[in-house]
């Protein structure tokens, strides 16, 4: 390994970690300022589920809806990423709700008659082959009525 490589590689690692932390902090700020207010009148459930995603990437949240409760499930995406696809599926992977990028719905309100475990799956559509790959924050939020 050359002297330059010995210096440059650790520096790149530091830079990558620093960028990752900064991007994550921006994601938190975005989720708090833009997404949480959109949950109203539901009370957000205090859990921070957000990630930087790129086209082709996927995120999944496992959660439980408790009987007798009203919920809002919301997928909030930074505009730079564009619209994303997302769905709510039950334990058998049956689709309960789906929103596709060409006809997006940003939230789904539901009342749980029974307690049911579910998953929210988000996937970012791929763009054309020549398009620049954009990374953006996707927050998956859940609100409930007290």
């Amino acid at each position: 390994m050359t002297y330059r490589n010995r210096l440059v590689r650790p520096a790149f690692l530091v830079a990558a970690v620093a960028l990752s932390i900064t991007a994550s902090a921006q994601c938190r700020s975005f989720a708090k300022n833009k997404c949480v207010p959109e949950l109203a009148p539901y009370k957000f459930n205090e859990t921070f589920n957000a990630a930087q995603l790129a086209p082709g990437e996927e995120a999944e949240v496992s959660l439980t809806f408790y009987s007798g409760q009203d919920y809002r499930v919301m997928v909030c995406t930074h505009p730079i990423l564009g619209e994303v696809n997302w769905k709510l599926v039950d334990e058998n992977n049956k689709v309960i709700f789906e929103s596709l990028a060409d006809e997006p719905k940003h939230h789904f309100d539901l009342k749980a008659a029974n307690t049911v475990p579910m998953k929210v799956v988000v996937w970012v559509p791929n763009k054309g082959s020549g398009a620049m790959v954009h990374v953006g924050c996707v927050a998956i939020m859940v609100g409930f009525k007290e």
Binding site: F30, G56, G68, H78, K111, N114, F144
Partner: protein, 298 residues
């Protein structure tokens, strides 16, 4: 090495330094842009990665469920505020930040404002020792003090503070500390529910305790995602596995959900009656939970 490769490293370092050096406040959200230097190649980015999260009910959500299930308030079962100074290791502080956070939510949801302030003070102390002062500081305490008689506002501040602490820890690469805090809060919530059921046993409360089987599965997934960096995290994994063995005996409704519409809102239903616990199951879960929780607070 081509020209781009030669020059992209210093650029990346420069960009990182300038971003981090801007101060502790995150940049405005609309500056959240792509940096082409990070997206090394499109092919790499497109190699699909799935990010998996586990949504554990927050202390506030759990306390609200308990109240709806007819639980009563019992201050004697909560962690003593005097214990706060005993927690010196970061992992112990994180677990007990979760414990005090759950006690705080329980006291607040049941409108015991004075006790809420004591638990806020304990939580703040632990958050301070964990270095989370930007998310939970004196101004948070002052704001809570000013809203003491406005229950809804107080609950909102507590929720927001919990979210800020969790997000701060995750943002700063301390996900394992966040996971311990969440685990401590969940165990304390189960402890409160099972202790309350000893004197105030209702079918609704038993159902809520039985249903924690789902959340326990998610919590095990969350904790399991981290490499054990200390004995405490490994210990929590073992504790949760012990609880899972007891919950494995609890019969749950058949998986699957149905959807109907009611006044324009989707109603999600299951295929079977609600879960419940036998006396023996409740007793064994109560005892195991108490053993685990007491090992965290002592």
């Amino acid at each position: 090495m081509n020209f781009m490769c030669k020059h992209s490293w210093p650029v990346a370092v420069l960009v990182a330094a300038s971003l981090v050096g801007c101060g502790s406040e995150p940049a405005a959200q609309d500056q959240l842009n792509v940096d082409a230097t990070v997206d090394s190649t499109k092919a790499e980015r497109l190699a699909t990665t799935k990010k998996i999260f586990y949504n554990i009910p927050s202390p506030m959500e759990t306390a609200a469920l308990l109240k709806k299930a007819g639980a009563e308030y019992n201050s004697k079962i909560l962690n003593d505020v005097k214990n706060v100074d005993r927690y010196t290791a970061a992992s112990q502080q994180a677990l007990n930040l979760g414990v005090y956070g759950a006690d705080l939510s329980y006291a607040s949801v049941f409108n015991h404002t004075q006790e809420s302030m004591f638990y806020t003070s304990c939580s703040r102390k632990l958050a301070d020792r964990l270095g989370v002062t930007s998310a939970f500081n004196d101004s948070t305490l002052e704001l809570m003090q000013s809203k003491m008689n406005d229950r809804a506002a107080l609950l909102d501040i507590i929720s927001e503070t919990y979210w800020d602490v969790d997000a701060y820890l995750k943002d700063n690469g301390r996900d394992n500390i966040s996971a311990l805090m969440i685990a401590g809060g969940w165990v304390e919530g189960l402890y409160i529910a099972t202790q309350v059921s000893a004197s105030n046993d209702t079918p609704e409360l038993r159902q809520r305790i039985a249903e924690q089987k789902h959340s326990l599965g998610d919590l095990v997934g969350l904790i399991g995602a981290y490499q054990a960096e200390d004995a405490r995290l490994e210990g929590v994994k073992t504790d949760l596995a012990g609880l899972q063995a007891l919950f494995a005996q609890v019969a749950m409704p058949a998986p699957g959900a149905t959807v109907t519409q009611e006044n324009g809102t989707a109603v999600i239903g299951g295929n079977s009656p609600a879960a419940t616990l036998t006396d023996e199951q409740l007793k064994s879960i109560r005892e195991k939970t108490a053993t685990i929780r007491n090992s965290y607070i002592n």
